[in-house]
């Protein structure tokens, strides 16, 4: 056939199979879910920021008021100042800590790894409360601040460093363990000194990890609400401003404007991080040989001392929170009591709010895992429908860029609108579940995608040739093979649903008060010991779930080791 004939040949339009229809339908459903739960509310928030109290469009007027009122706009500068300061400190500490874990031969490495993760179990309010007991007006070691005031930037920076330490340390740990031992051997053979090797091999190989850690820390800190709420004092930051505008002054329009001010840096940090991570993939070499540290007495001792110090600080903050929850009357009567656990007498909903939190976390883990994993499967493994899949993939990334407070406020505007047919969800448990799933969607989605990418891409092709419907192979092969990842995702969702405050603080009702919110409200009312007690309940629950997760994972791994290759 001639060239011309080939060009005019009719394009083959592939017939769409039943499987394809089902997969596309399911994908559209999940995309709709994400549209309703993230895109529409954000739009509602954005349009609210251009309206006055009567709901009339007034253009940029709210923004102008915001920027020209020093009492409002100075929190922008404050936020950046404390965020950058805390980010730099935590990067520095986490770097050495991770370096010790990967490059030294110090003992107790797995113990230190475990201790570093302790802050993940706490709502960020709790370490802040512990700080008050250490350095507050009646703190036991307040003179260590040399007369400086805890409430304000110092307290915020200390609390945030503690709060984001595990996240930053984990990123650095991963990026350090990716180093190729052959580069170190080459450097040694070429006669380079240890210090030169550090600057020519170690640092360059983890530059993407460092940049990524920076952006993650920056975003977590600037959007965190718990720490500045407790120890911020008169020092306003963006996150507390949103809360004050909405809960304190009922100025929803200004709340929306401040939210936008908070959203913009978070979005920028998110985009920058994505760009960097895309480059990191290209850096990985399949043939890299993992680095094995060699013992060196002096170095190992220094590293052990450093990690012991950091570990001690982390544990003492936890211990102080625990102590605060059982002390009779700080600082006058230091005898122990369990009366603070009698939440019935307190603001914040009592034990019910704890049970509500468990309920929220359970539903979030169950539904969240199901939606996220199936959604990730559809994006990764369906055939054709390229634009749909790309759009879906993009939609899955949005929640990561949206701070919890912003999401929560956006939900208020969207779901509380009388015109919204979904209005009935407002002030119910389901809306809390939806909000929490959405808030933590991206990280869960990314771990599901990572697990699915490790599966042979031809499984689907083979099962089609064997005339098996996709859902059968999904259920019989994909899910069993990915069980560890599924468990990871559900644990991640459960623990975060227990500890989160920011996303749900605008959405709970008197019937659906939550444990983390109770911590906030009791602390607000000056009942710091009961607040610490409720915080400890969250810590214990989260720790219990992690333990359960560990046992389950071990069990599954030993039962399936016959077919799981290492």
């Amino acid at each position: 056939m001639s060239e011309a004939a080939a060009n005019t040949a009719p394009i083959v339009k592939p017939k769409i199979s039943r499987d394809d229809w089902i997969m596309r339908g399911a994908m559209i459903l999940i995309a709709l879910y994400l549209l309703i739960c993230i895109a529409f509310p954000l739009y509602a928030l954005l349009s609210k920021s251009f309206e006055n109290a009567q709901g009339e469009f007034i253009g940029l007027k709210n923004y102008i008021t915001y920027l020209t009122t020093p009492a409002l706009s100075w929190s922008i500068g404050n936020s950046f100042k404390v965020t950058l300061m805390a980010t730099v400190i935590v990067m520095f500490v986490a770097f050495i800590y991770a370096y010790a874990l990967t490059r030294s031969c110090m003992p107790f490495k797995s113990l230190f790894k475990g201790i570093a993760l302790v802050p993940i179990l706490m709502p960020s309010l709790l370490p802040a409360i512990a700080l008050v007991f250490f350095f507050g007006n009646q703190g036991i070691i307040k003179e260590w601040l040399f007369g400086a005031e805890l409430y304000g930037p110092i307290g915020i920076v200390m609390g945030e460093v503690f709060y984001v330490f595990p996240h930053v340390m984990t990123i650095m740990l991963i990026s350090m363990s990716l180093s190729d031992a052959r580069l170190y051997e080459a450097s040694e053979v070429l006669g380079a000194s240890k210090i030169k090797t550090f600057f020519t091999v170690t640092l360059p190989s983890m530059r993407y990890g460092l940049v990524s850690a920076f952006f993650v820390a920056f975003t977590l800190i600037i959007t965190d609400f718990g720490v500045p709420k407790v120890v911020g004092g008169q020092y306003n930051v963006l996150a507390t401003d949103v809360y004050k505008q909405v809960v304190g002054r009922h100025d929803f329009q200004m709340g929306a404007v401040v939210s936008m001010a908070l959203l913009i840096p978070a979005v920028f940090a998110f985009i920058a991080d994505r760009i960097v991570q895309r480059k990191q993939v290209a850096l990985l070499s399949a043939r890299a040989v993992p680095f094995q540290p060699k013992p060196s007495k002096a170095f190992d001792r220094i590293m052990l001392a450093f990690c012991s110090l950091i570990g001690f600080i982390i544990l003492s903050i936890l211990a102080m929170a625990a102590f605060a929850s059982v002390v009779k009357f700080w600082p006058y009567n230091l005898s122990l009591t369990t009366k603070h656990y009698n939440f019935k007498l307190m603001d914040g909903g009592g034990w019910d709010s704890y049970y509500n939190s468990i309920e929220l976390a359970t539903w979030t883990a169950i539904f969240g895992t199901a939606i996220v994993f199936f959604g990730a499967y559809l994006v990764e493994k369906s055939r054709g429908f390229q634009q749909g899949r790309t759009a879906m993939q993009a939609l899955c990334m949005v929640p990561m860029a949206v701070p919890g407070l912003v999401l929560g406020l956006a939900y208020v505007f969207f779901f509380n609108s009388p015109d919204n047919p979904l209005n009935f969800l407002y002030h119910t448990m389901p809306i809390l579940v939806i909000c929490t799933i959405t808030h933590f969607y991206t990280v869960a989605h990314l771990s599901a995608v990572t697990a699915l990418k490790q599966m042979d891409p031809e499984f689907e092709a083979v099962s089609q040739s064997l005339k098996a419907p996709f859902y059968k192979t999904f259920w019989r092969v994909t899910v069993p093979v990915c069980t560890p990842a599924v468990l990871d995702i559900s644990m991640y969702l459960f623990v975060n649903a227990m500890t989160t405050v920011s996303a749900v603080v605008f959405l709970y009702s008197s019937d659906t008060s939550l444990a983390s919110v109770a911590v906030l409200n009791m602390d607000d009312a000056g009942d710091q010991s009961p607040a610490a007690a409720m915080g400890m309940m969250i810590v214990c629950t989260a720790a219990g779930v992690r333990l359960l997760h560990m046992i389950l994972t071990r069990g599954i791994q030993s039962r399936t080791q016959a077919w799981r290759k290492r």
Partner: protein, 363 residues
């Protein structure tokens, strides 16, 4: 093997596949007959796997048609086509036992349990793994996994078996053994088979017919012997086996000038005219040496520049014959005893006309 006049089992007509701007397949037409074993052979990126995936419906062609047993399957999804497939990675389900893997397709056809059991046992017997059924794929060797994948693909008795580089993940010894076993099995059950490979040895030993592909087009289709001894293009001559490319000028349709020598040819393509630059191809083992040169036409005397010892034969690299092209000549170890092949000595060789193929000069 079916005769060429029979209705083809698989008919590919004008298939073109584009990935954006890139054209992976250009207007491919091909017929495969029932019970035939056909290999798609070519370097990586030549489009052989793309063509296989188009036949399977996994990546449907941009234009063109595919007929199986006379039925137009051009636009059907894989699940509506009739084939079994084995991938390079085997894609065995890791969490299912060998038995369950093999039974997977049968279960979807609602075959009764006891029938499935006997069929699975039958298939495992067939591929030589009668007592490995309860093991998981990870507990088997690469070669055994390969056979399980084959059993799974054959379980539903498909009319067409597609093999996508099925042996390239295995080490050389296992590969050689399985080559033979797969061919044997295919003969025994008579399933029409298409195998994609980049390994010429695999294609030569296994295929009834080889389809040589390059840059998205078919270079040649023919039996292994045909393709080896009468390559349709310099590409085929070069890709399969080793060959000498000699620059020459065509004098008459049956003679050519190589440097200072004139050689006779058995025939040259009709589209070439006298005076045109051409490329002559002759395989190193077809060049005559020693006593076989006596009385043969097309004799040339050449200096030996370099000698490689390759086990069962020596490969001589000569001084240039024309321009800067030198000749490779394979001399068996036995023959090497009767002639002097030391570097720097001169040797009398003959280029038999019937082993010389003539092509238009290479660019």
């Amino acid at each position: 093997m079916a005769s060429e006049t029979a209705e083809p089992y698989l008919k590919i007509v004008g298939v073109t596949k584009k990935f954006g701007e890139f054209t992976a397949l250009k207007d491919i037409s091909l017929e495969v007959f029932e019970k035939e074993f056909v290999c798609f052979l070519g370097p990586s990126g030549c489009g052989k796997t793309t063509l296989l995936r188009a036949i399977a419906g996994l990546d449907i062609q941009t234009s063109g048609q595919v007929f199986q047993k006379g039925r137009d399957i051009s636009d059907l999804p894989p699940s509506s086509r009739d084939f079994g497939i084995v991938f390079q990675s085997y894609a065995l389900f890791p969490n299912l036992t060998v038995e369950k893997n093999v039974a997977y397709g049968l279960e979807n056809q609602k075959v009764p349990q006891d029938r499935i059991k006997t069929r699975v046992a039958e298939l495992l017997e067939l591929v030589g793994l009668p007592d490995q059924g309860r093991k998981y794929p990870a507990q088997l060797s690469g070669g055994q996994q390969q056979r399980v994948a084959l059993a799974r693909a054959l379980a539903t008795e498909p009319g067409l078996l597609l093999l996508d580089e099925p042996l390239s993940a295995l080490d050389a010894k296992v590969r050689a053994r399985l080559r033979h076993e797969i061919k044997e099995l295919q003969n025994q059950i008579g399933v029409t088979t298409i195998m994609v490979t980049h390994d010429q040895e695999e294609a030569l030993t296994m295929a009834d017919r080889i389809v040589v592909m390059n840059n998205g087009v078919i270079e040649q289709v023919g039996s292994p012997i045909d393709i080896y001894s009468h390559p349709a293009s310099p590409f085929v001559a070069d890709f399969i086996g080793t060959t000498n490319f000699i620059d020459a000028k065509l004098q008459t349709p049956t003679s050519a000038q190589i440097g200072n020598f004139e050689v006779s040819l058995s025939a040259s393509p009709p589209d070439l005219s006298a005076g045109q630059d051409v490329t002559l191809c002759i395989r190193p083992e077809d060049v005559l040496t020693g006593s076989r040169v006596d009385g043969a036409p097309n004799q040339i005397e050449l200096g030996i520049h370099h000698v490689e010892f390759l086990g069962s034969f020596h490969r001589l690299h000569t001084d240039p014959v024309s321009g800067d092209t030198s000749l490779m000549i394979d001399v068996s170890v036995a023959r090497a005893r009767e002639i002097d092949i030391s570097v720097g000595s001169r040797i009398q060789v003959a280029l038999p006309a019937e082993h010389m193929n003539v092509y238009p000069a290479r660019g």
